[in-house]
Amino acid sequence: MKPSRALVLALQILFGVALLVAWHFAANIRVGSATLKFFLSAPLDVFWRVVKLFSEGEIWGHMWITFQETVYAFVLGSVAGVLCGFALARNPLAAAVADPYLKAANALPRVVLAPIFMLWLGLGVWSKVALGFSLVFFIVFFNVFQGVREVPATILANARMLGFNERQLFRHVYWPAALTWMFSSLHTSVGFALVGAVVGEYLGSAAGLGYLIHQAEGVLDTTGVFAGMAILTAFVLIIDALVTVIERRLLVWQPQGAQTTT
């Protein structure tokens, strides 16, 4: 039997409260003349720090920067991924030639590229966009490539029998198939765009949520680090929820388990 929603929710809240309480007491353990707060901060301190950050208003600017970087990286990476995925899927020779290079490029942990991007593009927004792009591109590329290559043979044969020309085939068959695969990886690619932005900021910048956390770490401000992490987590959850809404709208035609109603 499926546990009831109320029960699950109640237990979830209870678990969260228990964690916070445990954290609170752990932070207040005395070691000599000080407490462990220096290492752990404390839930209430973090809470008030978050409140302070928002009331002072500076945080909005950082969030806006990170948001922008994420959006740019996602959009540019997706567009490039779709175009390349498409071009290679329809051109087997090019695909065969490019294959080892794409595999090699994708095998490289992208974080090591961050300093190079900063050298090329400076410490501003674009070096972070480049890092996010390098992550998003491959996810979208491989998905679209797969999607176009794996259009069911019967649907293709049917399209030919209906007399579709290349343009119509693209528009009514390959394009929707490619987009489906791209959308199915939407959460992952948006997530990676954000990772690119935050990691880039962390490694060198003057604004953004990653920068904020890095600053706090630099002065051993544990409360600041936890506050930054809390805001970043909320930020990610909100973006993820937005993606879910968009996904629902775009993929209405896909079976998601029957939707029944009374």
Binding site: I155, M161, G163, T180
Partner: protein, 277 residues
């Protein structure tokens, strides 16, 4: 089989002459699915092909559709040699062929796009066609929200809206239950009666073949399949699929054709078990 000449003075809608089809399998190996056969489907006639599974029915139909090129022989459509895809034929596939990302009505309307019909008009005509197959109220559903029988109706509407002169049907009602098959069969006969196209209908269901067709051709088990029987079905029309089965004549025809088919079916099974060939 060369006695299969058109009854009407005109060239047959589909004509296969010495058509054989061999597939390349693995490295260099060759599998001759169908050895040279002749077949004529006269305009306005309904021809059914029955045969055991894997004997080459779909293969033959794909050759008539121009989806695969025969290894030897020639295909002509209304007297003209076929090059590329058969533009005068509509094809109802054995497996799902609807575009899952389009609603029922869009799936049907899009079939008119290659003919240069404007969007608005295409949708109007698609709606009328869905109505004819009894799906008017399901126009805005996506394929995954339709039952198997409903999907087949949409596919039928998609095929018929282009008004092809030839209808190629590959076990179109295969996965449906018995009652739905009867309903779909009657629908097909009704549509065909008002607009007689040449139909080449493939099935493994002998009852269905006899109930629908003017002529039933029996294929041998593969490899190198060929025709082992050709029966004229002289049951009166209009027919009701469910009722025609109680006809004495139906019974006789069934017995005769089954005698030819039975050996092939058991041969096919023996081969699938690796006994023969």
């Amino acid at each position: 089989m060369s006695s299969m000449t058109p009854e009407t003075g005109r060239a047959p809608a589909v004509s296969l002459r010495g058509v054989s089809i061999a597939y390349r399998v693995g490295d260099g190996a060759r599998y001759e699915a169908v050895r040279p056969v002749d077949l004529d489907v006269p305009d306005q006639s309904f021809v059914a092909i029955v045969g055991p599974t894997g004997c080459g029915k779909s293969t033959l139909l794909n050759a008539a559709a121009g989806l695969i090129a025969p290894s030897s022989g020639s295909v002509s459509i209304f007297g003209e040699p076929l090059a590329g895809v058969n533009r005068r034929a509509g094809y109802l596939f054995q497996l799902d062929a609807l575009m899952p990302w389009k609603t029922a009505i869009d799936n049907v309307a899009v079939a008119l796009e290659p003919m240069g019909v404007r969007r608005g008009e295409a949708r109007e005509r698609a709606h009328a066609m869905l109505k004819r197959v009894g799906l008017a109220s399901f126009a805005d559903r996506y394929p995954h929200m339709l039952s198997g029988g409903q999907k087949k109706r949409v596919a039928l509407a998609q095929t018929l809206i282009r008004d092809p002169k030839i209808l190629l049907m590959d076990e179109p009602f295969g996965p449906l239950d018995a009652q739905t098959r009867v309903i779909m069969g009657n629908l097909l006969l009704e549509l065909w009666a008002t607009d007689r196209k040449a139909v080449l209908f493939i099935t493994h269901d002998l009852d269905e073949a006899i109930a629908l067709a003017d002529r039933v051709i029996v294929m041998a088990a593969g490899p190198r399949s060929h025709f082992v029987g050709d029966f004229r079905i002289d049951l009166p029309r209009p027919r009701d699929i469910a009722e025609v089965r109680h006809d004495k004549r139906f019974f006789d025809l069934h017995r005769d054709i089954w005698a030819a088919l039975r050996d092939e079916v058991s041969r096919a099974y023996a081969q699938a078990d690796g006994v023969a060939a």
